[in-house]
């Protein structure tokens, strides 16, 4: 696999021009090439959602697309969620407040999915939250506190 392609990814506002194998998965470009390791891989088959990032504002599973497919596009990862001064985003604060994380491995994907949901629907019902999380698995929390956290974040963001 000697051939490579030149691509440009804008991640959390920073432009990265990189040469990658055409088959390189987006998540491996983000983690291994660019070095942002907050985005995780939990299943390889697009079920678990640990690798969820925002592509032009929409949630995508970065393990299920190629880096080359994201050429020229805007990507947001968990590392871009907090404010520039280091304070947590209301969604991050809400997850801490409501104990919406335990081991924290699925959490980056949950946070990014939550952001996508609240962008689209700033005041979701609990059922709508659960539905939005259908592609994000957590084995620790049983989801109830994640649902409460997203509800709480929505309230805080509406203020």
């Amino acid at each position: 696999m000697a051939e490579s392609v030149s691509i440009t990814l804008t991640i959390n506002g920073t432009e990265h021009s990189i040469n990658v194998e055409p088959r390189l998965l987006l998540v491996h470009a983000i983690r291994d090439v660019i070095g942002l390791t907050g985005t995780h891989v939990g299943c390889d088959t697009s079920q678990c959602g640990s690798c969820t990032v925002l592509l032009n504002g929409e949630a995508v599973k970065s393990c299920s697309m190629l880096a080359a497919q994201a050429d020229g596009q805007q990507i947001e990862t968990v590392e871009g969620l907090a404010h520039a001064d280091g304070t947590l985003h209301p969604i991050q604060q809400a997850f801490a407040e409501k104990h919406g994380l335990q081991c924290g491995f699925c959490t980056p994907g949950m946070l990014m999915m939550s952001k996508a949901l609240l962008n689209e629907n700033p005041n979701p019902s609990r059922d709508e939250i659960r539905h939005a999380l259908a592609g994000n698995m957590c084995r620790c929390t049983g989801y109830q506190n994640i649902v409460l956290a997203i509800e709480f974040a929505a309230e805080q963001m509406a203020r």
Binding site: M1, Q102, C103, N136, N145
Partner: protein, 776 residues
């Protein structure tokens, strides 16, 4: 730093959260060492096959490949996993090679190893290895595997291993005299732990120092250190294992052969080597759990009082005996007397090798299977006798007790108050109203069901009641520096439970200081000299107590030192809110940091006092703790499709004294969700040739947000008399209680249709078939 408020009992915010929320956690795959090469494994596609030959030539010539090795290459220098000690059972486990040499014994067993300079390159090269197999007939189902004519998993021995019995009273006579007997064959299906972070390791051999460092996603870094030292022929102090941030464990992240292979590759090449399992690799080769076929017989008199229990457990070990697994089959039978007074008991436990992935502990470790038997049995008896499920339990609970007591099953319970737990959950769920709603639903043609289950689960694993040789400790060390900052080094290895936060609460309370002044270090055998690790609901009991005792030793030394410094009688010194006070003259006080600094000064100390503030504790619990509870599930079943709508789960857990209520609620939600997974969705599905049919998260259903109910949780606190914290541990109670509550609810919903039992998982197809069978 001083505080008078006790931190134990408060929902202190988790110190673990911020880095995880920012994406700055350090999980194994996130750790990068320059020059690292990648390891990929070739795994057997056959459940049972002779390995005729392995051709590695093409792989060796592939770009970037630096090493290829097979079982023959490393055998006999590094040959096998240390065998599981089974002397107590008069048994010997079969050899477990790190890489299969002559024969592969389950799909997913490692047959060859490839190392290359890139992740993708290693995987490509693994695909170039050609293995010539001679497929053999496989033993898949444990019941068949235990027959004399079954294919042998290990050629030199029969599949049956460990035949354990226990007897109390006279069950045959009890059955003869009983008013009612229920008999059922019950399968606790094989399931997977599925922590969200797959297994991963990074081994780094230092050829100059001749030391091995391994970062691994495990629950027990010290156990892995000792395990690797034995395999690699090194001293334990030449091996460092680090469990950094660990993405869930649930009992399945332990001493797997892959870690030794990483170390061997790194030693051979002299470079760091990394491996990250795919999810499918974890399904095929990380240990599975439960896997028991059981025969239950239970009797009662006409009043519903239990008179006899006979359990025959057939436990599937998989291809190799792993970790503590064989002994857990006996523990599983023992707990099947549940929280009840049963005078006549008979257990027979057999373990059998099969050509499937080895089994091991998973959140509950045998106890959910035992509890499921008695909780199903009680509902069947209640139904035969026309009693409410709560009433038959009420008539059989062990009376309240606060000192250790031996049960009919042979466990020694520490304390319990079981009827109170039932009362509490009945009130929490408005049980009478639920039954009225059920009548209403039935009148409308809807199939609502209410399921009750009382449970008990061992915690604080110290000495095993089955095998006294298996005693376990935990180690804690508390050091106070010259500035008065406190550090706990704990052998406990938290991985999501919030242990850093909780241990800091305990240590801070000993000194009366803020938990912000307590640092908690764990998970690195170079930093923490000793340890056993986190499993079996043991961290709070054993890690918490070793931390507390070590802190108390330091505190006592500081009291003595401060008395000397102030010229106060030692008996009159107290530590109040982080300040040393002489009670006979309360004007005289010393700040915490000043006493800490004095401990390093020649002149400040009494002549016979050693320098410094640094104490440790090997805490050995005197027995196991037993958390308990009662759960009520509410379901509605669509009889046309068999679909179960689990609407609510009411839980009452008693884990002794609660240290951090917020994290305890989290344990209940998460554990109950895993229990619901077993009840409704999860099964490791093998075909008759031994292929695992659902080895990905596309095919294996762990619960998602839409598949879980609303939890309504409450707690009681019956202190354990075995430790001064009064704690019991609690992480595995919910996986033990939830399955039976859910199954009992579904059977309750369908009992008017004649359904008396359904095997887990209660998939729509199984529920629908049960209805069809009952309707004839």
């Amino acid at each position: 730093m001083a505080t008078d408020a006790k931190l134990v009992g408060q929902s202190v915010a988790r110190r673990e959260d911020e880095k995880l929320l920012l994406g700055r956690g350090a999980f194994v795959e996130d750790i990068k060492v320059p020059g690292t090469q990648w390891l990929s494994l070739v795994r057997s596609p056959h459940a049972h096959a002779r390995i005729r030959s392995i051709d590695t030539s093409a792989a060796l010539q592939a770009p970037g490949v630096t090493a290829v090795f097979t079982g023959k290459d490393i055998h006999p220098r590094f040959g096998t996993n240390p065998t599981v000690p089974l002397r107590f059972y008069g048994a010997e486990s079969a050899p477990y090679d790190l890489i299969a040499v002559d024969k592969a014994r389950h799909v997913g067993e490692v047959v060859a190893v490839v190392v290359a300079d890139t992740r993708y390159g290693a995987r490509d090269a693994a695909d170039l290895i050609f293995v010539d197999y001679e497929p053999l007939e496989a033993a898949i189902d444990v019941e068949k595997a235990l027959r004399d004519d079954a294919p042998r998993v290990h050629d030199d021995r029969p599949n049956g291993i460990i035949h354990w019995r226990h007897q109390l009273g006279n069950v045959s006579q009890a059955f003869e005299e009983a008013a009612v007997i229920v008999r059922e064959r019950i399968v606790n299906q094989k399931i997977h732990g599925v922590p969200m972070e797959p297994r991963a390791g990074l081994a780094h051999w230092d050829p100059v120092q001749e030391t091995m460092s391994l970062w691994a996603t495990v629950q027990t870094p010290h156990a892995l250190r000792d395990h690797l030292a034995e395999i690699l022929h090194l001293s334990s102090d030449s091996v460092r294992v680090v469990a950094p941030d660990v993405g869930g464990g649930f009992g399945v992240k332990h001493e797997d052969p892959e870690y030794a292979l990483l170390c061997i590759a790194s030693m051979h090449l002299g470079v760091p080597v990394k491996w990250v399992a795919t999810r499918t690799e974890d399904f095929l080769a990380m240990h599975q759990a439960r896997g028991k076929t059981s025969y239950l017989e239970v009797s009662a008199d006409a009043d519903g009082k239990l008179t006899g229990l006979r359990v025959r457990h057939l436990h599937d070990l998989g291809a190799y005996a792993k970790g503590p697994e064989p002994s857990l089959s006996a523990s599983s039978a023992m707990i099947s007397t549940g929280v009840y007074d049963i005078p006549n008991v008979e257990f027979e436990v057999r373990n059998g090798y099969t050509n499937t992935t080895p089994q091991g502990p998973y959140r509950g470790a045998g106890r959910p299977e035992g509890i499921h038997l008695i909780e199903r049995g009680l509902d069947r008896l209640a139904s035969e006798l026309g009693l409410d499920p709560t009433e038959i339990r009420r008539r059989n609970y062990l009376p309240p007790f606060d000192q250790p007591m031996r049960t009919g099953g042979g466990d020694v319970f520490d304390s319990g108050n079981y009827e109170a737990s039932l009362d509490q959950v009945m009130e929490l769920s408005s049980y009478r109203q639920l039954r009225e709603q059920q009548q209403q639903a039935r009148a409308e043609g809807r199939h609502m069901g209410i399921g009750v289950a009382s449970w008990v689960k061992t915690g604080g694993s110290g000495p095993s009641p089955v095998d006294p040789s298996s005693s376990r400790y935990e180690w804690g060390r508390v050091r106070v520096d010259r500035g008065g900052k406190v550090t706990l080094f704990t052998g406990s290895s938290p991985h999501g439970q919030g242990g850093e936060t909780v241990f800091a609460q305990i240590v801070a309370d000993v000194f009366g200081i803020s938990d912000d002044d307590v640092t908690v270090l764990h998970g690195d055998t170079a930093t923490v000299a000793h340890g056993v690790g986190t499993y079996g609901s043991r961290a709070l009991v054993t890690g918490g107590m070793s931390a507390k005792i070590a802190a108390e030793k330091v505190r006592d030394k500081m009291l003595k030192l401060s008395a000397h410094m102030m010229g106060c009688e030692p008996d009159h010194m107290t530590l109040e809110g982080g300040v040393f006070v002489c009670t006979t003259n309360r004007e005289r006080t010393l700040p915490f940091a000043e006493v800490a600094d004095a401990s390093f000064q020649v002149l400040a100390r009494p002549a016979d006092m050693e320098f410094g503030l640094d104490e440790d504790s090997f805490y050995q619990p005197s027995g196991l703790t037993y958390n308990f509870g009662t759960y009520i599930a509410v379901v509605e079943v669509d009889t046309e499709t068999g679909d179960v709508d689990l609407q609510r789960l009411y839980t009452v857990d008693d884990q002794g004294v609660i240290v951090n209520p917020m994290t305890v609620v989290g344990q209940v939600h998460g554990g109950a969700t895993q229990g619901i997974g077993q009840a409704l969705y999860e099964i490791s599905e093998y075909d008759q040739t031994g292929q695992l049919l659902n080895a990905s998260l596309m095919d294996y259903a762990i619960p998602t947000a839409e598949m879980t109910p609303e939890f309504v949780v409450a707690f009681s606190e019956t202190p354990s008399p075995l430790n001064s914290l009064g704690v019991k541990g609690m992480g595995e109670g919910p996986t033990t209680g939830a399955p039976s509550a859910v199954v009992n609810a579904v059977v309750d919903a369908l009992s008017p249709l004649g359904v008396s039992h359904i095997e887990m998982p209660l998939t729509p197809e199984r529920v629908w078939r049960a209805i069809q069978d009952a309707q004839g």
